[in-house]
């Protein structure tokens, strides 16, 4: 029977890709290991190798097709003696099978994006986002991915200030491990876009030293999991020196990179450091959710005279959102945003936690509970006022975070609500968080370890006594 070649997943978080080129044509003989096609994702261009031998029977997805969902059949390989009609029946069979598995063929993909597992990667629910009062009315909006928003923010700041540069692993020639620094090397050159060796502790220290000398480094960690190697320099050198020097030694530096769980990358690559960094006086900690905030807050972070930890989320890199088309779009650090207005319960979250919070708010609305959703955006300084103002209105609060519960950001928020709005509370504050375990690898366990929309809905209903 004809063998189906499926659209491969080329990274842990890849959901779709563009079939940019076929390197074999129908009727060609294929040997195992032959490169048969090129696939382009938002991160990289990759080659597809045949894993079976035979003849390329039918190309099901023509080259140049965009947004082909992972696992979609893209071609058939015929064993000796088979003909193309076998391939056609294989296709029909595949269509049925794949429809059940929720990966629609590419031709349908554009109008109906592939449904995704809620826990892992819901689509950015832009419709639920409140208009940002900071954006002047009538501003033209541009849709871009968060990855592009970050890149644009850095490029704009590097154009603006010669002292700003970026260093990190694979930021230059490779164009960024997650393609966040794409084209920066081409525009700014190797002097300002610097590939480092794999040496987190060392290059974090070099960055801090350069900052003490007055430069404004952006230090990219391939993930914040690796920054644990560098955390001494971040905290002992970057965060404390201004104080220890009686105000003499400044350190204008941004440490940025993906933080928290990606997908199926195991315990050592999935930790959320929100609580760790948010505990440190001397640091500012930013963790945005929307594309516009990613851009505006990164620009603020680069200009901020203090060391800023800029926590990104790999699951969000490919998500698109509207970003105001302004010459200099800045979002102030330290200001939370009411992302959805409601009166019955306050959901407080940030970064990818907003994905659950906003989805949950939609679910709750169906049951007549109007949730107000606060996107903290900055974890230090924490915008207590916005939280308290909302809780005074709703009298109920649920915190949502991917990190662990003990000594987490949710615990801090709950304490502040108790300190500032105790008399307004009609129920104890509830915390939804990652479970108290290292991140498991198995898909089902990983899903269980992360917070879910259902968790948030249940917690919100519990504090509403419903």
């Amino acid at each position: 029977m004809a063998i189906q070649v499926l659209m491969p997943a080329l990274s842990p978080t890849m959901e779709k890709g563009n079939l940019s080129k076929w390197l074999k044509k129908e009727g060609d003989t294929i040997k195992s290991g032959d490169v048969i096609a090129e696939i382009e994702t938002d991160k990289a261009t990759m080659e597809v190798e045949a894993t079976d031998e035979g003849t390329l029977g039918k190309i099901l997805i023509p080259e140049g097709t965009n947004d082909v969902a992972v696992n979609t059949p893209i071609a058939t390989i015929l064993a000796d003696g088979e003909d193309a009609s076998a391939a056609a029946s294989a296709l029909a069979h595949a269509k049925q099978e794949k429809a059940a598995e929720s990966a629609p063929p590419a031709t349908e993909a554009k109008s109906a994006p592939a449904p995704k597992e809620e826990a892992a990667a819901p689509a950015a629910p832009t419709t639920a986002i409140q208009p940002d009062p900071e954006i002047p009315e009538g501003t033209e909006m541009v849709t871009m991915t968060i990855r592009e928003a970050l890149r644009d923010a850095m490029a704009e700041e590097m154009r603006r200030d010669e002292d700003v540069f970026i260093m990190g692993e694979e930021v230059a020639e490779y164009q960024g491990a997650y393609k966040v620094t794409q084209n920066l090397l081409q525009e700014f050159g190797a002097r300002r876009v610097i590939d480092t060796p794999i040496t987190e502790h060392g290059f974090a220290g070099v960055g801090v030293g350069a900052a003490m000398s007055g430069l404004k480094p952006i230090v990219e960690f391939m993930t914040f999991n690796f920054a644990m190697q560098a955390i001494d320099q971040i905290i002992n050198s970057a965060a404390k020196t201004l104080y220890m020097s009686g105000g003499q030694m400044t350190c204008q530096i941004v440490f940025r990179g993906p933080n928290g769980a990606a997908a199926r990358v195991g315990a050592q690559h999935s930790q959320d450091y929100s609580a760790w960094y948010s505990q440190i006086p001397g640091l500012k900690v930013v963790a945005p959710y929307s594309a516009a905030d990613y851009k505006g807050l990164l620009k603020s972070a680069i200009r901020d005279p203090n060391p800023v930890i800029f926590l990104e989320n790999e699951m969000l890199y490919g998500h698109s959102g509207e970003v105001p088309k302004l010459d200099d779009y800045i979002v102030p650090i330290g200001k939370a945003k009411v992302a959805r207005v409601g009166k019955d319960v306050t959901l407080v979250s940030w970064s990818n936690g907003m994905t659950y919070a906003l989805k949950a708010a939609e679910e709750l609305a169906k049951e007549g509970i109007e949730a107000e959703v606060i996107d903290l955006r900055t974890l230090r300084p924490l915008d207590t006022d916005t939280i308290i103002e909302s809780v005074k209105k709703t009298s109920r609060a649920v915190t949502v975070e991917e990190g662990w519960q003990q000594s987490g950001v949710g615990a801090e928020i709950a304490a502040r609500i108790m300190e500032h709005a105790f008399d307004y509370l009609d129920a104890p504050v509830a915390r939804v968080s990652g479970k108290d375990v290292p991140m498991p690898y198995a898909a089902n366990l990983e899903k269980l370890a992360l917070p879910s929309v259902a968790d948030v809905v249940a917690a919100a209903k519990a504090v509403c006594y419903r």
Binding site: H201, G205, S213, Q233, S237, L242, G246, G247, N306
Partner: protein, 343 residues
């Protein structure tokens, strides 16, 4: 310039691993007088700090530099204005050598308002942008990466300044030191790594802690030239410093100087010093004291005891004034608790 004669050659074909030549170039009389004065200032300052510690006026940790004075004084003589210095927590000598005011340093030791860090840093954490002194760091080895970053900034700006990163034989076993070596050579950063080998990392002798006790060779696998220097002879330090500075200013990358020295006092004030004998300490003091060496040379060259006493007196006045100030200056205002956390 050509590669230094006694350097550990980059490709590892080093033949010599002994100390620098027995007779470094002579100092002029002015240089000798300058070196004597600055070394004496450090020694008397440290002795006074030790006294104040004993009186309870200085708290916490206090690491004295006595015995190692020739290193910072000699190196400083090889620098030009704008070159940066960074070190660990045995830092009082470096600050004084950089020209920082003794009063401000001593007042920081006593935790007073007029200290360099307003009393918020203490013995291990002082800085002076004006004098290009970048601290004062309490985590062993951290200053090596930071000092490499200072050099990175010089390179980025395209100036010809050099940064000096001082650290000890103990810090030489920290991982980030080698991460820094790698980047410094890779990017040809103008940084001089000065390893002050005083033979003991706290209480552990180099032979008990280091597989390679010739620290000048610690850069070989990165192709960084290194040199062992008699760190008790200020002339040898200055001469080695000149070679290293020239190497860096010429854009050839980093350079390692292992300064062979000795600390007379304990690791910190609370060190019982059971790891070495009294005789060992006395022998170094008697045979190699960096200050006595200069003093003897000056006397042999015809400088009078009277002239030397004048220097002693000047130094004592500075130190006494600093001690008075450090004890009379008020503690920082309580409102300072919350300042300087953010800018």
């Amino acid at each position: 310039m050509a590669a230094p004669k006694k350097s550990v050659a980059p490709a590892g074909q080093a033949t010599s691993n002994g100390a620098t030549p027995s007779s470094p170039p002579d100092f002029t009389r002015d240089q000798e007088m300058h070196a004597l004065r600055d070394m004496l200032l450090i020694r008397r300052f440290e002795e006074k700090a030790g006294q104040l510690y004993g009186m309870g006026a200085i708290g916490g940790f206090c690491h004295l530099y006595i015995g190692q004075e020739a290193i910072v004084v000699g190196m400083q003589m090889a620098l030009k204005d704008g070159d940066q210095v960074i070190t660990g927590y045995r830092d009082h000598g470096h600050m004084l050598a950089c020209g920082m005011d003794a009063k401000g340093v001593m007042a920081e030791l006593t935790g007073r308002k007029g200290g360099y860090s307003k009393g918020k840093g203490g013995s291990m954490h002082m800085f002076s942008r004006e004098k290009n002194f970048y601290g004062g760091h309490g985590i062993v080895g951290a200053q090596v990466s930071l000092g490499t970053g200072l050099a990175f900034a010089n390179r980025y700006r395209g100036n010809d300044l050099v940064s000096l990163a001082y650290f000890g034989d103990g810090a030489s076993n920290q991982g980030q030191v080698y991460e820094s070596f790698n980047m410094a050579e890779l990017w040809k950063l103008p940084v001089i790594y000065i390893i002050e080998n005083n033979r003991y990392a706290m209480g552990t002798s180099v032979t008990r802690s280091s597989a390679q006790t010739d620290f000048s060779k610690r850069g070989i696998s990165f192709n960084i030239p290194g040199e062992q220097v008699d760190g008790m002879d200020v002339r040898a330090v200055k001469a080695a410093g000149d070679r290293a500075v020239a190497w860096c200013r010429a854009g050839k990358g980093p350079f390692i100087l292992e300064m062979q020295t000795y600390r007379y006092r304990g690791h910190s004030m609370s060190d019982p010093a059971k790891y070495r004998t009294r005789e060992e300490v006395d022998k170094v003091r008697h045979d190699q004291d960096p200050i006595e060496q200069v003093r003897n040379r000056l006397l042999a060259a015809g400088v009078t005891e009277q002239d030397l006493k004048a220097i002693d007196a000047e130094v004592r006045d500075i130190v006494n004034a600093s001690a008075d100030f450090a004890q009379q200056d008020p503690e920082p205002d309580a409102s300072e608790l919350y300042t300087d956390v953010y800018r």
